[in-house]
Amino acid sequence: MNDVTLTINGKPVSGVTEPRVTLLDFLRDVAGLKGTHAGCEHGVCGACTVLIDGTAVRSCLMLAVQAEGEDITTIEGIGGSGARAGELGVIQDAFCETHGLQCGYCTPGMILAAEALLSVNTDPTEHEVREAISGNICRCTGYVQIVDAILLAAKRLGQRNDAVPSDATLA
């Protein structure tokens, strides 16, 4: 068993885990954050996407022990929490506006992939949006309303008069 200490959504988290446990299972079973989902568990579908230092990463392909000391953002770190639970981030709100989801299973990964894109590209083209989510498989939507959501979020983020580029800072 190994001790792992990392930062999740701005808070330090420590846990004891087997070396073979993936970051995905650590987040779900040790940290108790169930918003990160297992889809294929072999790195194709993107349902388990989280951000490490702002970069979209597949948590099923990374061991928890490899994440020692890393700064991780999961879907629970996007939008309001605690007393502010129920307050949507801009990207989340855009997904609701365009109905960029159906069953909601791939949605956390999609939103984090969008977060990663919009943190470095504030005015993406439709092609750039499609490229950014091309590693996230959705079986419900045909992607159309997801692409609409991310373009809408980019537009709204661009219209904000504060300098905060990322939803993550809301937490």
């Binding site: 568990e41 996007i78 949507l88 109905h99 069953c103 949605t107 079986r139």
Partner: protein
């Protein structure tokens, strides 16, 4: 158009479910933990067919954390075989293989351990002594008398062999100027949700109750588990407040649920089984139809299609399940949207040593639509006639509804020609043709795909008695309960799980419309199965019609009670009152407010009309409209409503590489009155994406040893955001006369025509080379190989 009639219906409104999902706060099966929960991992067969001589689990049982190993022999002695819709009692099926395995991946035994990882570790210690047996993979071969039956006790591989003749087929063929024959094959694929199937069962011996949480989409789920486990129906409590991470028909999970239900009861603690992706792909028993069509079609020189003979041979895999019924549902739209006078239909379903087939989006309709649309293209090609003109000539006209098709169903309503005209205008069809020719001139292969088809909706189960005469099922209800609490707020209860269809939005919107109350203020809950009214779950594209219908009718009953209270209070006749936004207005201007009404109903019995029950609650159990009779002379009214879709797309590809690029995709869609526009559009986009996958990428392919080759997402390819183009939906509304608001179904939209349309586009692109692709999926390797063979 009807849009202006409604305050909430058909207006752009945010689906209420979306908030929890974008926050990662859905409640999926893998998110549920119970104290002292045990985990199950099944051991899969390596053989396509084998006799099991013995299982040695002693080393596994000796491992720390391993609690039990369950074998098929133990299970078969303790539970009843899983339900089988046909009269094939000797095709017995248990959650684990008994005495022999019948497909590679079939569960041989199951380890129960303190964690899933420990259970998987223990699988490697189990020794199965098995003797390989001859196996069969091909459906035509399975039909041969010389082929060994997958179930020797059954005597053959034939599960279903039904011949129907509807109308004067021989006369129509004699009278027709021409006929042609061809064969096409729909490859074995599935909708493959991103969430695999999972189930958690917990037995409480003091209450004699089995609690079940599952990512389920299955009619009569609790009943089937109770029957298999020999438990009273009221000893099974299925919790419907589990979010299902996609299903599209496939999450049937009976074998998983009976297995964990048995283990939970045996061990007296909570037990969970979540498929991993490999288990989902090869042993989730969720493969879709694999169907070969042999079609002969009779037509005149002017393009009039008179009659069709269709033989459909389905490869059901190793067990019967509900798969053969997927040959029955398409009978409800066996002539598509066309005036075809007569049809001969031969439906065959056989067992093979492949994974078991289950229900998939459309329940067999998409393959049949692909066959019918291919027939229309072949007739046009034979006659040298424009494909579009041929369709327009044969389409049922607006003035012909209700239209009786040869197999006994009336199509309710439609205006197919108008939808097509709208699509042609929206797509700028002449410009699309010019672009195709420009691409061809530039050295590309380019083609336009066209497909018209129907989505039978409002699902009942008429195909069951039609294919199995001992089955007398004509009831296929859905229900809803509504309550107004003592503070005046509405809560509605729905009695099913949902897998992305937006049922909470559906019910709150419909109730809001009926009660004239903001849907945002209406709460929707999902009680467990013991607290629920009867229903049949979201299958057969039925919930807008059936759950929406039940919710509206329950609302109307509440409104009638409110009007009666108001009439009594105000001392006037009901017909002199008007309901307005929750208040009731008298003809003389007096207003009986919502708050007063709630006060009377909840606290002032003495002010209620004589004999009226207190409180404000209602419910409705609704039967499928038009579904009131069993088949007569092999004919029956199947689904009540028929949505129409018309697909038009432009594809091109390099002749050497063969990788299709969809330039533009326009669909015309008429599903009657729309409840929530974003939900209906989403269903349609997603259906088209599934259809593109079925046409170009997705297939459960087997090698000659009966091993599944495409068993991960690395080799079972699904469309990504690059393969699904921007899609334009052209909306049209022809209300159904059979439903409360004129709504029809849309849960299968897009998928029912996209495979046919994409296939047509590819075939149009290679038509100058005389190539016909006769099997889906049409992989890029097949395209480039076929072109190379013609041009080398």
């Amino acid at each position: 158009m009807t849009e202006q009639k409604y305050k909430f219906l058909s207006t752009p409104r945010r689906p209420v479910e979306d908030r929890r999902f974008v926050a990662g706060r859905g409640k999926f099966i893998a998110d549920l933990d119970r104290p002292n929960m045990l985990h199950v991992a099944p051991l899969a067969s390596h053989h396509a067919a084998a006799v099991i001589n013995g299982i040695d689990a002693s080393a596994a049982l000796a491992m720390p954390g391993v609690v039990d190993v369950i074998t098929g022999a133990e299970l078969a002695a303790a539970v009843q075989p899983l339900m089988n819709g046909l009269n094939t009692p000797n095709v017995r099926r248990f959650p684990l293989a008994v005495d022999r395995v019948r497909y590679a991946g079939e569960w041989v035994c199951a380890v129960v351990a303190e964690s899933r990882a420990l259970a998987e570790d223990a699988l490697e210690k189990i020794i199965v002594d098995a003797t390989p047996q001859p196996f069969i993979l091909d459906a035509e071969a399975a039909l041969l008398e010389t082929s060994a039956p997958v179930h020797p006790e059954h005597g053959s591989n034939l599960l279903l062999d039904r011949k129907f003749v509807w109308g004067p087929v021989d006369d129509d063929f004699d009278a027709a100027a021409h006929s042609l024959s061809f064969s096409v094959t729909w490859g074995r694929n599935s909708t493959v949700p991103i969430e695999t199937f999972g189930v958690l069962a917990e037995w409480n011996g003091w209450d004699q109750m089995l609690d079940i949480w599952a990512s389920i989409q299955m009619p009569k789920y609790a009943d089937q588990i109770a029957r298999s486990l020999d438990l009273p129906g009221n000893a099974i409590r299925v919790h419907y407040d589990v979010d299902v991470g996609g299903s599209y028909g496939v999450k049937r999970g009976i074998k998983h649920s009976v297995l964990v239900g048995y283990i939970a009861r045996k061990l007296g603690c909570p037990v969970r089984l979540i498929e991993d992706r490999l288990e989902n792909m090869r042993a989730g028993d969720a493969h879709g139809p694999e169907r070969k069509f042999d079609i002969t079609i009779a037509f005149d020189q002017d393009g009039t299609v008179r009659s069709m003979k269709m033989r459909a041979l389905d490869n059901a895999g190793a067990y019967a399940g509900r798969a053969p019924f997927q040959l029955g549902k398409p009978i409800s739209a066996i002539v598509g949207p066309y005036q075809i006078n007569s049809v001969a239909y031969h439906a065959l379903s056989v067992t093979t040593n492949k994974t078991v087939q289950e229900a998939v989006r459309g329940f067999g309709q998409a393959p049949t639509n692909y066959a019918i649309e291919t027939a229309m293209d072949r007739v046009a090609e034979y006659l040298g006639m424009d494909r579009l003109a041929l369709r327009q000539k044969n389409l049922i006209r607006k003035d012909q509804f209700p239209y009786l098709i040869p197999s006994g169903s009336y199509y309710d309503s439609g205006d197919y020609h108008a939808v097509i005209d709208k699509v042609l205008a929206a797509a700028d069809y002449p410009a699309m043709l010019a672009e195709r020719d420009r691409l061809r001139d530039a050295g590309m292969m380019a083609g336009i795909g066209i497909a018209a088809c129907l989505e039978p909706s409002g699902g009942n189960s008429s195909f069951e008695p039609l294919l199995n005469q001992s089955n007398q099922t004509s009831t296929w209800m859905e229900s809803c309960q509504v309550n107004i609490d003592a503070l005046g707020k509405l809560t509605a209860r729905i009695h099913t799980t949902s897998s992305g269809q937006g049922h909470e939005t559906l019910v709150s919107t419909v109730l809001g419309e009926v009660m004239q109350i903001d849907p945002e203020l209406i709460r929707i809950t999902r009680p467990n199965s013991l607290e629920s009214l009867p229903g049949n779950s979201p299958v057969g594209s039925r919930m807008a019609i059936m759950l929406g219908g039940a919710a509206a009718r329950a609302g109307e009953k509440l409104k009638a009670k409110i009007m009666a209270i108001a009439a009594h209070r105000l001392g006037v006749a009901i017909d002199q009152l008007r309901y307005e936004g929750g208040d009731v207005l008298a003809h003389d201007g007096r207003r009986f407010t919502w708050d007063e009404m709630v006060e009377l109903a909840h606290r002032q019995y003495h002010n209620l009309p004589d004999g009226m029950d207190p409180g404000l609650a209602s419910f409705d159990i609704m039967q499928v409209p038009t579904g009131d009779a069993l088949p007569v002379d092999d004919k029956v009214q199947m689904y009540p409503c028929y949505s129409f879709e018309f697909h038009l797309l432009l594809v091109s590809f390099d002749p050497i590489i063969g990788r299709p690029d969809i330039h533009s995709y326009v669909i015309g869609h008429d599903c009657g009155t729309v409840i929530n526009p974003a939900i209906v559009s989403g269903m349609t986009y997603g259906g088209i994406a599934h259809g593109i996958g079925a046409a170009l990428f997705e297939e459960f392919a087997y090698d000659t040893n009966g091993q599944l080759l495409t068993q991960s997402f690395l080799d079972y390819l699904m469309p990504s955001s690059h393969e699904v183009p921007a899609i334009q939906i052209v909306k049209h509304c022809t209300p159904s006369p059979h439903t409360v608001f004129g709504q029809k179904g849309s849960g299968e939209s897009g998928y029912l025509g996209a495979p046919a349309a994409v296939s047509a586009a590819i075939n149009d692109a290679v038509s100058s080379l005389g190539i016909h692709f006769e099997k889906l999926p049409i992989r890029m390797s097949a395209i480039s190989d076929a072109i190379a063979a013609k041009t080398s």
